[in-house]
Every structure is written in C-alpha cells, then in structure tokens.
C-alpha cells in the first residue's frame, strides 16, 4: 500500500476483504444474522436499508449496455435485482449451503421460476404426493396448461420414483418434511434415483427451514422455500426463494438445452457456460423473473431478513412447543391419532432422528375420535390458536385442511396428501406452552 497515487483518488476503498472461512465454517446462527449483509457503504447504516426504488442510475451509456448484456454486475430495475432483496438472496444461499439464490414474490412464484428454467413444453417431472395442497394444484392443473406433466407418486416407498421415470422426466420434486402430514421422507435413496437418472432433485424445504434440515448437504440440487412461513416468521411478508447447489452438471447429456444452448431470449448467451455453477440462478432471474415478473418487494425482503436473524432461536422454541402440544394431544381422551414425526410412536420417528436431529418442525396433524364434526367445532372453539391458512407464524395456528388448503383436491388426493376430512392441522407458535394446552383442552372439551 506504499504506492503514491498519481492523480486524485476515488473514495478510500476501506480495508481489503479479510480471508473468510471457507463456506460452511460459520455456524448457522452467524449466517442467519450476517450472510449477505454488511454495513451500507456510503452512510455506514448497520442494518440493511430498504431500497424502495424501482430503478438505478447508469454511470454512462456503456455501463448501461454492459448491465443489459449481463457483462457486469449491477442494478437496472427492481423486477430483476434490488439491493435489499439481494441481501436476502445471498443469505438464503448461505443458509442452505448453496451457490446462489433468487427470490420471488411467493413460494409458488419461486417454484414457477425453477420449473420454467428446467422444462420445455412436453417435458415431465415426478413429484411426491405429500405436498402442500397448493403445490399439488399448481403441478397438476396449472402446469399442465403449459405443457408440463407431473407424475405424482407415494413417496414413502422411494422405488415409486424409479418406477415413474420416463425419458422426458427432467426433475424429481419432494418435501422431505411434508405439509401437512407429519411425514418424513427417506432422502438418500431418492437422491440416488435422481443421480442415476441424471436429473435434479428439487426439495421444498419450507416446513423444515435450513435450521432443521439442509437438503443440499444430502444431495439435493435445487431448494425451494416459501419464505412467508418460518423464515419471515411473524406472518408479515409473502416471499419465496429458489436456491441452486451449484453442483449439478447441466451439460452431461444435452437434456437441459435451456442451460446449455444459446438462449434466443438473451441474444444467444449460453447460461451454463457463461455463469458456471450459478448459471441456473442467473437464467431463472434474467429470463423467467424478467419475463413473468413475480419479483419480491424490497419491503417484504426487509421483513424477511429481519425475521431470519432470529430463525435459529425461534425454531428451537417452535420445536419444543410442538413436542409438548403433540404429547398432550396424543394422551388426550378425545384425540384419535397424532401424526408428528417427533413422537416416538410415529412411523417416521427414525427418519426424523436421522434427517432432522434438531426436531421435526412445528406443523403436524391430528384426528378426533368423533370425527369431522368435532374437528369443525374445535377449529371454531379455540381462543388462542388462530383459524387461518398459514404456517410458521409466531402465533399458533389451526386449520381444517380438507375445507381450506386442500379443498381443490379430489377425496383420493386429500387422503393421499394426509388431509382427509377428520384431519386438523396445527402450526405451533411461540406462546407459553401451558397456555396452548389450556386453549386446546377447553376447545376439545
């Protein structure tokens, strides 16, 4: 640093970046607070500002051209990138141990970005049937209109994925900790099937969050989140994220031309060649997000970033409270069954211990001995639990899936998805556990 400047210098660059530990060396609590965020360079503002702006001034015409051509990094328009949203994106990538992430207006939008980047009309994919009901509808109905066919399978036998494979299948999609059934999938054999088939495994990790489960560490290639749930954590903000592991070889056998062939939507750019291990994210952002427009708002990104800072401590309490409530219900004379993988009597308890050692989440289902009518009465009689269609709030939530989130499905699909007519879903929040038990007890009575 002894060189004498020959002309006026730009503002001091500050200290050069210190050598950081290799990715993975920081703990998840540290990443939840720091990843992607550093003090705002001009003012020193420590917390991430909300960049509530649609667009960004170019330095000159050449800079503008470079930006539009993706030849340099920078901001053009908040439909594509925004500095607040970018902090959340990098944080999501760090928390999941991925290479890159792109956020979207909702989990559904993130899912759309993933599949639009993967599939051509006529392509197919395989999905677990044990999914959030909205995903089943998106895959089974709306995607069909785009020429994409989803084959649903019972995921509790991994061989079912193998049997459903066709030459046109381009992905396998699962929720490892499934919504709403308290089901945990055996990931390893499913990863092996996807590897053998040369197709990416996509995991919706919304219910577990990266605090409880990190799909990429087990071999997943893409991870989807509804950040609306535990990540934002307070029921404030819609959002979604798509995270790429950076490890999938898109060029292996020419089956992913959207990644390996020159893209006419981007003046002949070849995304995998140009951006390498974050090429999928770049394509999802600069083509799917650009052309369909489901961008996350900077304000929602801000609330989600703030929520994530306390994710590890919140998840610990969510899991602890869920365990207390599940055991209470399991012992309650009016309760027929409880499906929570954290309970020792759950058929998924061993899988939960293997894949979710920190806990099996805080969303589970149960059924009442007197069936459907009693379930309806319970949902209406609670005073502390909120009757609404969300999960992962600080507040405890209660829902009758058959009449709400899974309403668009057939009876068969509802049963298969663990959302039969007698099923009640809880999302256990952060209130005093005894108060939750007292509320359920009075409502059950």
């Amino acid at each position: 640093m002894n060189d004498k400047p020959k002309k006026a210098l730009p503002p001091s660059p500050g200290p050069s970046p210190a050598p950081s530990p290799a990715p993975g060396e920081y703990g998840i609590e540290t990443l939840a607070i720091h990843a992607g965020a550093s003090p705002e360079p001009v003012t020193g503002a420590r917390n991430t500002p909300i960049y509530q702006t649609t667009s960004y001034v170019f330095e000159d015409v050449e800079h503008a051209a470079d930006l539009f051509n993706l030849q340099t990094f920078g901001f053009i328009y908040s439909r594509l990138t925004n500095p607040t949203v970018a902090v959340l994106e990098e944080r999501m990538a760090a928390l999941e141990g991925g290479r890159a992430a792109v956020c979207a207006a909702s989990g559904h939008a993130a899912q759309f970005l993933a599949f639009f980047t993967l599939l051509e009309p006529g392509d197919e994919f395989i999905s677990s049937i044990n999914l959030y009901g909205g995903s089943i509808t998106q895959f089974g109905h709306s995607f069909k209109r785009l020429g994409w066919t989803c084959h649903f399978v019972d995921p509790t036998d991994p061989e079912n994925f193998q049997k459903a494979l066709t030459p046109k299948c381009k992905a396998i999609f699962i929720e490892v900790l499934a919504n709403p059934g308290g089901i945990v999938l055996d990931v390893e054999p499913i990863v092996a099937i996807a590897r053998e088939a040369g197709i990416p495994l996509i995991v919706d990790n919304t219910m577990a969050t990266p605090y409880l489960f990190r799909p990429i560490e087990w071999g997943a290639d893409l991870v989807i989140h509804s950040t609306t749930k535990f990540l934002s954590g307070h029921g404030t903000s819609m959002g979604g994220a798509l995270i790429e592991s950076g490890k999938f070889d898109w060029a292996r056998d020419g089956r992913f031309p959207t990644m390996t062939e020159p893209d006419p939507a981007y003046h002949g750019l070849t995304f995998y060649e140009t951006f390498g291990d974050f090429g999928f994210t770049m394509k999802a952002r600069t083509v799917a997000l650009r052309d369909f427009g489901p961008a996350m708002s900077p304000a929602n990104a801000f609330y989600t970033i703030t929520g994530i800072e306390s994710l590890p401590v919140r998840m610990e309490r969510h899991v602890a409270n869920a365990g207390i409530v599940a055991e209470f219900l399991d012992a309650h004379p009016f309760v027929d069954w409880v499906s929570y993988a954290g309970l020792k009597n759950s058929p998924y308890h061993d899988l939960a211990k293997k894949y979710l050692p920190r806990g099996a989440g805080s969303v589970f289902t149960f059924g009442l001995k007197s069936g459907y009518e009693a379930g309806i009465r319970l949902v209406e009689a609670v005073n502390l639990f909120s009757h609404l269609a969300n999960v992962g709030d600080t507040r405890s939530l209660i829902l009758h899936p058959a009449s709400t989130t899974h309403r668009q499905l057939t009876d068969e699909q509802r049963q298969a998805a663990g959302a039969g007519p007698d099923v009640i879903r809880l999302s256990v929040g952060l209130e005093t556990a005894d108060d939750l038990l007292a509320d359920l007890d009075q409502a059950l009575g």
Partner: protein, 200 residues
C-alpha cells in the same frame, strides 16, 4: 487508480492462498505440520498484497461479444486491468481496443497474469508457453478459467515459480471478493462487519 490495483493484487494473492491451502489440506489429513504449512501459505498470501498484477494476457479472448471471454475481458478492463487478447485466429485484429496476438511470445509488452480461456485439453500447451516466456515477460501467475483444470500443467508451472489458479474466473472472483457478486444472489462466502466503500 493505483490503490485499486494494489487491492486487486490482494485478490489474486488471497485466491492463491485459499487455493493452495485447499490443495495442501486435501493432500493429507490435517495434522500439526499441515497447519504450519497452511499458516505459512496465509503469510505468503499477505505478502502478495504488496505486489502489482495489472496486466493480463488472455489466451482465447474472443471478439464475439456474447462469448464469456469477451464478458470477462470487458469487465476486467473497466476495473482497471489491461487485458491483452491472445488468439491466433484473430491475430492483428482489435478486440475491445487492444491488438490481438497469435501467441504469448508475440506480445511486445510485459504482462503479469496468463489467463487461459481455453478447454482443459489446450491448457497444458499454453501453460508450457507461459513457463517459457515468464521470465522475459514478467509473468507471475498462470490462471485457468472456470471449468479449466490441468493438474500436471499446474505442477509444471508451480515448479517454474508461477502462482497457479485453476477452475476460477477472475471476473467472478473479483465480483465475489468486492461484493458485486452478491448483487445477483450469489453466495460469496464473505462475512464482514466492515464498511466496504464503493469502487470507482
């Protein structure tokens, strides 16, 4: 400008440190001796902070503006590097304001880094040419692009005193280390409570 160049030199030094320590650490289980070696490499990386690497000879630079090499060349130019294109198919032609040369030895000026923007198969020959002209041209670093790896060529270059980086893009690494890469959602792996002022 000079200050920025110095900082940029640090980037390469750091990368070298990280790269080399990974190679060393993966070569055998991390025992005490290995940790000593890793510490020495960190010191060596710090020493590189005072070096000046400002000129890059880019082998395989393309005049086609949609090619990745053209992207990287233009980006690095705007960050203050001089990038000299080397490409026998375009010798004598202008690429982004620089004359293109057929071979490294044809470049009349000195250069610090040889950036191999070719396939792994072609990297060995270029590495040998870089070793051959290194003393004459002042080249210090052999840098093989993202996806390019030739361990034997790397070993020869290191034996000849060159610093070797493989399977990395200088544009992406520059963006990663100075925060720009995070703007498009990439996990830079950098955690810092320091205020990073904007660059020119």
């Amino acid at each position: 400008m000079m200050l920025w160049i110095v900082i940029a030199c640090g980037v390469f030094a750091l990368l070298y440190g990280i790269y080399t320590s990974r190679v060393v650490l993966s070569a055998s289980p991390g025992n005490e001796r290995m940790q000593e070696i890793a510490a020495a490499i960190q010191e060596g990386a710090a020493a590189y902070l005072n070096r000046q690497y400002t000129t890059i000879a880019m082998v395989g630079a393309s005049p086609d503006w949609v090619r990745p090499s053209n992207f990287a060349m233009k980006y690095l130019q705007r960050k203050g590097y001089r990038v000299i294109p080397v490409n026998p198919g375009h010798a004598g032609k202008d690429i982004l304001g620089e004359i293109t040369y057929a071979r490294l030895r044809d470049i009349p000026d000195k250069f610090d880094i040889v950036d191999v923007f070719r396939t792994s198969d072609a990297a060995g020959v270029i590495a040998d040419e870089a070793i051959e002209v290194a003393a004459d041209k002042g080249a210090q670093v052999l840098w093989m692009q993202l996806g390019v790896r030739d361990d034997a060529a790397a070993a020869r270059a290191e034996a000849a005193g060159l610093t070797v980086v493989m399977n990395r893009c200088p544009k992406i690494e520059y963006g990663r280390l100075f925060g720009e890469l995070g703007w498009c959602g990439v996990n830079t792996g950098i955690i810092s409570s320091k205020r990073r002022k904007p660059r020119p």
